[in-house]
Symmetry: C2
Subunit: 141 residues, 2 copies
DNA sequence: CATAAACTCTATAAAAAAGATAGACTTATT
DNA sequence: AATAAGTCTATCTTTTTTATAGAGTTTATG
């Protein structure tokens, strides 16, 4: 399960993407719109900024904005940034690998093999789907 | 990421499956073989027993054993039992659903749509792969 | 039937992670 | 100068995870 942090990040990014034309967006606006604690959201947006995903402007008329078009922001990147590994086991993680301490040889471990497949199946989606793909779908009347 | 509890459960089940012919297996044997704290493992095996996956025999010559053939024990079942939801978001979980508190309408939420796909991709593997599929692969000389 | 072996059960504790809050500071606009 | 807004660091609370303790129960067996 993704942490609240990552969940909030997605919702904030969605709001920013859907309001790109309006210039910098206030933290407080996002917090209110998405029902998130403003102080908690502050930390999250800052992390996204430090990772180069968001930009910000201080002072009056300031706020946060996307640094790249939504279609260039992969969902996997956000998850890894805020939650760490996407894989179900450390011994199968591409970015946060750790040796398995319970099995004798990962190369012949069947669990390792299956969990690698789960990782690949998830990544196939999360690496290719972007912020653009999770914007609110327009309902055609 | 799966909890240690679930990871240990998998390793314990693997050991039990690979030694099915030897009658009940001691907790202490599994703990030593798989490098797991014996007391922690005790709790895990008990949970697996209460869920009907393992059986046990008390007293001398006792221990734990599988209640079903390995090919009938799906990996998804073990994860759900010990870790809960497999989905990345509560609003997308089949067994542990919770309403999304940050979006206005799940039906048109793009995040919900993508995460449903991730869930399905993971479940396709985890519901179909069983304990039999994660046993140590025999290396043919 | 006594003994020892082994699982059972409940409680608790320690550690880590998650979630949230506080407040002083800096920058920018008007 | 005043105000609006992000920045930064620290701290705190709660929850979850991981682990341990110990008394209780069951069973085999000599």
């Amino acid at each position: 399960m993704l942490s609240k942090k990552t969940q909030y990040a997605f919702h904030a990014l969605i709001h920013l993407a859907e309001n790109q034309d309006k210039g910098p967006i206030l933290i407080s606006e996002i917090a209110q719109e998405k029902n998130i604690s403003i102080k908690f959201l502050e930390n999250i947006l800052l992390e996204l900024k430090n990772a180069g995903i968001l930009g910000s402007k201080k002072g009056k008329g300031g706020g946060y904005y996307l640094m790249k078009p939504p279609k260039e922001i992969a969902l996997a990147k956000i998850i890894r940034l805020l939650d760490g590994a996407i894989a179900l086991l450390p011994c199968v993680s591409l970015n946060y690998y750790e040796r398995c301490e319970n099995c004798k040889d990962e190369a012949i471990c069947g669990l390792n093999e299956v969990m690698s497949k789960v990782r690949d199946a998830s990544l196939k989606i999360l690496e290719n789907k972007t912020l653009k793909d999770i914007l609110t779908r327009q309902v055609t009347i």
